[in-house]
């Protein structure tokens, strides 16, 4: 069953928050890397270069600091480092988990590829995956840090399974590893964890497997830690209302991409976790206006009250030009703060938030 979002939401409200209403703002995770960081990633593999692993670590630190501050400059309440140290959402973790091997990149679309790994033996926890990243980001951030982590269903289903009798069993073993990592993150001070499960959108009939995996992840995690689930690019009617049974505090989805055609899915029955709503499209290179984003926010108010609404981009922004990613993030925060002020002033009818349409 759903966790207790009321118990952990207020810790992210800034002391100087300007409005009585508070819509928590966040980002999904990834953000465009500075071009020089991509060059640095290549240089370290060049045997003729003097650029070594220590230099690359320093470059990653610099980029992480830069993007964390960029999120803060945009005004986001909870920030991440833009996943500057990560290449791709499965590969990064598979590289750190015993039991995976890599055979080369595979097609995703067009001639875009990702290094899809194979599971060749039982997966085992070796070294912490994200604790160093979290500690560094926290040390440079003035706002609370969210930690996105790829979920076990995606880590299992977006790999080739050569070792387990079923991928479901692999997912459950991976869920235990994710639980171990989340425990370490919590011990290090993390209070906002986002489980990324885009694979659920490809096979929504597996919602029960994802639910069981989430039970294992959330086991023993105190309720002051906020656990979100991000799922994108799919038919949400195929996982709803089962989501209400997941042990999560927040359900993060992309709906701007589909012009909110799916928002009625969440109207009945009532959504139990908080809603984290995508209000800018991660796959269009035009920056949405503040007015347009405010309308998108009001779509969320159709299904949850302000105290249960978190606002984010649809998905990670890493494929966009950096100035566009920043523009979207900045306009998103501006729109949220204006909507909050309008709620305070009674200018938005919360029973019918799109009334002026």
């Amino acid at each position: 069953m759903v966790r207790n979002p009321d118990a952990n939401r207020d810790q992210f409200r800034p002391d100087d928050h300007p409005n009585d209403a508070f819509l928590l703002t966040t980002v999904v995770g990834s953000y465009p890397k500075p071009k020089w960081l991509n060059r640095a990633d290549e240089l370290v593999d060049d045997p003729d270069s003097k650029f070594d692993a220590d230099d690359l670590e320093a470059a990653h630190d610099d980029a992480a600091r830069l993007i964390t501050h960029e999120h803060e400059r945009a005004g986001v309440d909870t920030v991440v480092d833009g996943e500057m140290r990560r290449n791709e959402m499965v590969e990064f973790f598979a590289d750190r988990i015993d039991g995976y091997e890599f055979n080369g990149p595979v097609k995703v679309w067009g001639h875009n590829y990702f290094d899809k790994p194979s599971v060749v033996e039982s997966v085992e926890y070796d070294e912490p995956w994200l604790v160093d990243e979290f500690e560094f980001t926290s040390s440079v951030a003035e706002r609370p840090v969210k930690v996105p982590i790829t979920g076990p269903y995606t880590l299992g289903f977006w790999a080739f399974n050569e070792a387990y009798p079923s991928t479901e069993e692999l997912v459950y073993d991976l869920a235990d590893l994710v639980n171990e990592e989340v425990e370490k993150l919590v011990e290090a001070g993390a209070r906002y964890i986002q489980i990324d499960e885009p694979a659920l959108a490809t096979t929504p009939e597996d919602h029960a497997i994802v639910g069981e995996a989430l039970e294992r992840i959330a086991a023993g995690i105190p309720e002051e830690v906020r656990i979100g689930l991000h799922v994108c690019y799919g038919d949400y009617s195929r996982v709803y209302p089962e989501v209400n049974d997941y042990p999560i505090d927040e359900f993060d989805i992309e709906l701007s991409n589909g012009d909110y055609e799916q928002i009625p899915v969440l109207e009945e029955p009532e959504l139990e976790p908080d809603l984290a709503l995508g209000v800018v499209d991660a796959h269009t290179a035009e920056v949405e206006s503040v007015e347009e984003i405010k309308q998108n926010i009001c779509q969320g108010l159709r299904v949850v009250p302000p105290e249960k609404l978190t606002i984010s981009p649809d998905c990670g922004l890493k494929l966009l030009p950096r100035d566009v990613a920043y523009g979207k993030t900045e306009n998103m925060v501006t729109a949220v703060r204006e909507v909050e002020a309008e709620i305070d002033a009674g200018e938005i009818d919360l029973d019918n938030p799109l009334a002026d349409d």
């Binding site: 055979n103 080369g104 990149p105 595979v106 097609k107 995703v108 679309w109 067009g110 001639h111 875009n112 590829y113 899809k116 194979s118 977006w158 080739f160 399974n161 050569e162 694979a199 490809t202 096979t203 690019y233 796959h283």
Partner: protein
């Protein structure tokens, strides 16, 4: 006595070096993908890819060689995406996979392009000039009309049956320009994943028959992602004009497929999807041979004219090293059975 023929139709993964070259030449956004009018540098890169594919198949010892479809950025939707009557829509999911293609939106009467025929002609020339080609012959690959219509968006014809028929005529026109080929594989995954509604089966089989009639080659209607619905299976056997049905023995419940053959008979030849095209675990040739023998023992047919030994899906899902290992496993399995 049944002839065993090892073949791996459909898209192959691009060689790793070509991936990097094409990334530099083409870019990564949807406007950068194949449109049929690419420049010389891109054309020559794909010529190299095609030659590599022929080499890989000859080295593996396959009986039927294919072009490899290196240029098919949009998987089996490719023949539409290079058509003048088609506009490029959004990025959409390719079945229930973590793969995507550009939505082909048909906005005008579909007409001849010759794009696939040109690719096949260059493959034929490569095969004719290759050392060690021996008795290997050429197989062509096309999407089946039912699946291609399912993968596309109709903004012109306005009627599902008419659209399928138009796609079939379009494919038949393309096929008419093909150079000599021994076999045609028509890929019809949508027959499994999204079968025609009850009563609409003949619309699909009529469309397939239209394409099949446009070639003198043996026609294999290759299905994948699981077993066919039994009624649709029966229609396909009787009406599609296929010399062989291709059946997936890896995904889904293979007993359902055996049941279909037991209850409704089969085409004179069969293609068996034996190798898992979506997993890197490489099957032993002896294991594949056992699968063929197991299947043939279950069905009430003494001999098929031919049994094609194939992967259960296209192989583009795999990294290059594993795809090559699977080619060899299939060729070796045919040897074991002989």
């Amino acid at each position: 006595m049944t002839e065993r023929v090892a073949a791996t139709p459909g898209l192959y993964p691009l060689p790793d070096r070509a991936k990097e070259t094409l990334s530099d030449l083409k870019g990564h956004q949807k406007g950068d993908l194949m449109s049929g009018d690419e420049g010389e540098a891109i054309v020559s890169t794909y010529d190299g890819v095609r030659a590599t594919y022929v080499d890989h198949q000859l080295e593996a010892g396959l009986d039927l060689l294919t072009e490899g479809q290196g240029r098919w950025d949009d998987m089996i939707a490719h023949p539409l995406t290079v058509s003048d009557a088609v506009e490029t829509g959004g990025i959409v999911r390719y079945y229930d996979n973590n793969n995507f293609y550009r939505d082909p939106r048909v906005v005008d009467d579909l007409g001849f392009s010759g794009d696939v025929a040109r690719e096949l002609e260059t493959a034929r020339e490569l095969l004719a000039g290759a050392d060690g080609a021996g008795d290997a012959s050429l197989a062509a690959t096309l999407p089946g009309p039912y699946s291609l219509a399912e993968l596309a968006t109709d903004e012109h014809y306005g009627d599902a049956a008419e659209f399928q028929a138009a796609i079939a005529e379009f494919l038949a026109g393309e096929l008419d320009a093909f150079p000599a080929h021994e076999t045609l594989f028509l890929f019809e995954p949508s027959l499994v994943t999204n079968p025609p509604a009850e009563g609409d089966e003949s619309t699909a089989t009529d469309a397939i028959a239209t394409v099949a009639a446009a070639t003198d080659a043996d026609v294999v209607v290759q299905t994948f992602y699981g077993a066919l619905d039994e009624k649709l299976y029966a229609h396909l056997v009787d009406e599609a004009g296929a010399d062989a049905l291709g059946l997936d023995l890896v995904a889904g419940d293979r007993d359902d497929t055996v049941y279909n053959v037991q209850e409704f008979g089969s085409t004179d030849s069969l293609a068996l999807g034996l190798v898992d095209g979506q997993n890197t675990l490489v099957e032993e040739p002896a294991t594949l041979a056992e699968r063929v023998e197991w299947f043939e023992e279950q069905v009430p047919v003494d001999d098929f004219d031919r049994t094609y030994l194939t992967p259960n899906t296209e192989l583009f899902y795999l990294p290059t090293n594993k795809y090559r290992a699977k080619l060899s496993a299939l060729a070796d399995a045919a040897e074991v059975l002989d």
